[in-house]
Symmetry: D2
Subunit: 350 residues, 4 copies
């Protein structure tokens, strides 16, 4: 990490989780980032290397508790705390801090929808009004002016990038959208759960949260904004034996006279100047390994077997474009840096 005078002084809240250490990996390539504070309440007083030996090559501050931090001198906070604990923590941060929140706590604009899907009242409704939903490619101006960015979820990022432009153009039907998504295990964080043990995940696949996964309203919110009307989707996530990556296979009906080729052309045009979104030649589809470890989203479009239908396949790394990478992308925008700073990597392949 460079020590240039124009460096940004950063705190990471919840540094002992997977999104926290992924921020460290990526910020290590960012010439303007300086890590000033790492918090991890449960591990306060330790060095992060005791928990994650792979950070040994870095020089890092010791882990502290959140309420021990002196916030003066900090510029920006990445909040990597669990869902449902974040609203209160961010409410208490000084307002000179810019905040990128990687939890789900500020992603749903409608606090009643939040209450319905998360099972409790929103704890910072005023702050919610201020929060900007940070799907960067579709909110660049709002992010630029934001103090608090709600970083999108991994599934919602992967699903919205191909669908938003098509719904905006009226090229796909708003009903009957089916999203079948497959994710690596890090999407669940570093949770002590029997169903995340190696032997219970390896060499198999299963669906979870069928018909009721909490990312559903977040996706529907974005699609509704794009379509200008309510959108209800089928969305089934699956847990796969891989560390990182999301593949979303999305089945749509064509609308407005569009062909499957047209969908590909509209996406290619929309994302032609985007550094992180890449539309493949028609009929070619991406693999998660093409974006492993990167901030890129690859999108493929193909014709479907029944007439009048098409298939969109999009791939991201859930810890990068789906979490820490997009958080840095948003930081870059919020602070007026070139958007790709520190995010230039191509995939670790194989």
């Amino acid at each position: 990490m460079s020590q240039t005078p124009d460096r940004i002084s950063i705190a990471i809240l919840g540094a002992s989780g997977y999104t926290g250490i992924e921020l460290l990996r990526l910020l290590g390539m960012h010439p303007n980032a300086g890590i000033r504070t790492l918090t991890a309440d449960r591990h306060a007083g330790k060095d992060l290397v005791e928990i994650f030996p792979h950070v040994r090559p870095l020089r890092l501050p010791q882990l502290v508790k959140i309420d021990e931090v002196d916030w003066s001198g900090h510029d920006l906070v990445f909040c990597c705390l669990p869902h449902a604990t974040t609203q209160e923590v961010i409410s208490e941060l000084p307002r000179h801090l810019k905040v990128v929140d990687l939890s789900a706590d500020f992603r749903l604009a409608d606090i009643e929808v939040y209450a319905k899907w998360y099972g409790h009242e929103h704890r910072a409704p005023e702050l919610q009004k201020e929060a900007v939903y940070g799907l960067t490619e579709h909110a660049r101006e709002e992010v630029r002016r934001a103090r608090l960015v709600a970083n999108p979820g991994c599934y919602p990022t992967t699903v919205q990038l191909p669908l938003i432009p098509l719904l905006q153009a009226g090229a796909v039907a708003t009903d009957g959208i089916v999203v079948d998504a497959k994710s690596g295990v890090t999407g669940a964080g570093r949770s002590m759960r029997e169903d995340l043990l190696f032997a219970e995940v390896h060499d198999g696949i299963h669906a979870y949260g069928v018909g009721k996964h909490r990312h559903t309203p977040e996706i529907e919110q974005g699609l509704a904004r794009a379509a200008g009307r309510e959108v209800r989707i089928s969305f089934t996530p699956h847990l796969m034996p891989m560390n990182r990556g999301i593949l979303a296979t999305t089945y749509v009906g064509l609308a407005g006279g569009a062909t499957a080729h047209d969908l590909r052309e509209q996406l290619a045009k929309r994302y032609a100047d985007e550094p992180f979104v890449h539309v493949l030649p028609f009929g070619e589809v991406p693999a998660t390994r093409h974006v492993r470890g990167t901030n890129h989203c690859f999108i493929g479009v193909a014709a479907d077997n029944p007439p009048g239908r098409a298939i969109l396949v999009s791939a991201t790394d859930n810890l990068v474009k789906g979490a820490s990478g997009q958080a840095i992308q948003n930081m870059n925008v919020m602070l007026g840096l070139p958007e790709t700073t520190g995010l230039g990597l191509i995939a670790t392949y194989p």
Copy 2:
């Protein structure tokens, strides 16, 4: 393998592929099966243990070429040859042999559909008329009387088992069916292809054959028979980093006033007496690892997020219920043995 006087004298054509050795594993538990002949043209003269060291504990005949076999004294042939080579081979077998063909060559009743999807004329149209499509649970009587059984494909088995009873009952809509399937690598056989190298499959997922996989017409044929009308489906297979297993996530519209719960009840009733098909409690969905190494199919049903829709999830082992296991199940039926003989295993878990 028992040497009882009532043993069945068996030949396996194409014994050096994955379905061939899976037959050997399963027949090793079958008290009536005797392996008399193993063919593998490319490896004729070798012992199978030179190719597959794990068969060392078995006493097996040496590999021979097909045209070297003296067919007298054989009762039944399992044909594990590649697609498109099988029609001619089976045409030339003596007619006293019962045949279970694990290739795709006799699965499509309409030879014009075959020609369209496989790119060449059918080479044994007379034999095609005789072939019985052996999805055992739905063709038991035909299989009992058959001489030539076309063993269903792995995807078609996994997709048809949940859908056929529901289409027969008119409980799901015939249009808008979306099948998103995920398979382990053995579905592709032991093929020398760069995209099947470990490093190209591990830790990732991708779709293939998007909108045009050859199992589509086979599935549509079975669904059309059940529905009594043409059915066109969206079907996307994905290649996953696991050895065995297929998970099919199927999205359907409800019809005829049925609820998602009704679908579950209808399936439970239909399969109550079936030893290999198990319907889970409502809302519970299977994992491929629950059927790993077994002839079982597990089926789950859940309500979907948009009203009027449901999700079916079915899991099989592509090498067992999706190939060699169902082939033995069909053999048992053809020869009047108890249908579960040799197929009693539960999953190798973990």
Copy 3:
């Protein structure tokens, strides 16, 4: 599971762990085994299918607590409880029961060695005197007469099978033996530990217990008996991203004028009539996948690069020959059944 009048009435203590369900899988192929009782104190009152959905095809008794069991009518107990809890439990079982204990609690004949490596006094020293160490191929007569068999550990089984005959013959040096072992995750049981989460095991390898793993004294005990003198070994286990399997690579100095070829010949001769131990052609080495899911041990011998040294490579499935399979093999011997009953499977490959 057959219901023959000559069936054995079996209880499994600790049925909700990996060795417990592996016993169920294997006993499902055993014509004389009847499962009468399953205990799991934490889950008493549940059906096992609630914990392990893959057992759905079986008809099983409900889980009960150990102290609720009426032991009359039981013939044999498999004890799959955690290390250090077992000595007391077995002490309290009625003495008409035959017991195969899969824990480490009765494996070390010297209770002082036990106390040193396990950190507490032995809690059933009288019972220890009665216990027979059940490495079947090397203790068949003692097992036949035993009431209590201490089933060997997975590493000790895999390491002792190649070394015991060679030490007995004086063909390898007793000092400088280096055993480098690699194991799948199920060797650690179904433990809730962060280092067993999928993301922490996948796509990597590490050593553990370096220089001090608890299986060391168990191996040294067996080697000392074979050599007739104390043996100290280097033994390093490694945790690998696979579900099952142990590969032990053992480096030895030649002794008594033996060549590496001689080692292979001596092992081949010693194990010629053993149904579960297979010695490969000289220079050929096994893979864990050749024995996956089976009770077999494959052994290879090769010359080493420095003169006067050889390499032994042995492979087992840690849950079968390294645990539940050998336990059933011992049961068969204890009860006078053919030793291979229910254990005829070859590998699930791939």
Copy 4:
């Protein structure tokens, strides 16, 4: 890739293999590197993205044949060609080019040893005399002055880094060294071999080249230089189901009165100022995943069970410190750039 006037003009020969694309990934973070030429004879005329879709975000020159390249204007060549083809290719390159060769063709100083292990005469014996063996930490000055650097093999790098300082200090015995190494599949390159298919590697492990792997003489050469006398080692590589990474577990006898703790201290002191070699606290051992995707080598030291012996465990990423990363490290040294330029990444974890 920056286009600064002080950029280095680079050619990669054999760009369509795994070390070639890994160079592209790493050079993408190098501020002074400019990719001018990519060769791949078999794919000449294509864009690399047709072979490796993940390079889509990069702007790269089209693939050409080696003999089509105009070498004027090039500064440095990375040669990623297969073993045995490289000696002739490099012989014909203009001498103004600096060359880092990633093959094995120039690693053995003694061309008779080369002929013995590689089965043919050396084809460029004059060039061999000029070649510098580029284990950077132990050859920095020679590399600085070199025109042709033979980049070390992946196993040799991982094994020599812990052993060289200890042999130089006389702290470990020169005989009886046992190296048990475990590697991910990319060590074998992108070869079309049945034993590298996913289903043949997944969920298992096996040893290969037992007693005779070609990296043995390369390791022995380096150890002999350090010890000042001949060294013969036991070296067994194993193929593991992971994409990247090598773990070497090395068993040594203590010498010169050293304890296991002393070994750790000597290594810590020797590597205290090295940016890429990290010695862990005594008794702690590394995992390959701690260095995944990085140029780091982590080393752990522990006491062994038999007195007078110790265990060294070292971990690298075979494609980075074991190949393309060390190649760039050598390039940096050859061209007078800061040695860590472009190599600052910590592990992609998980």
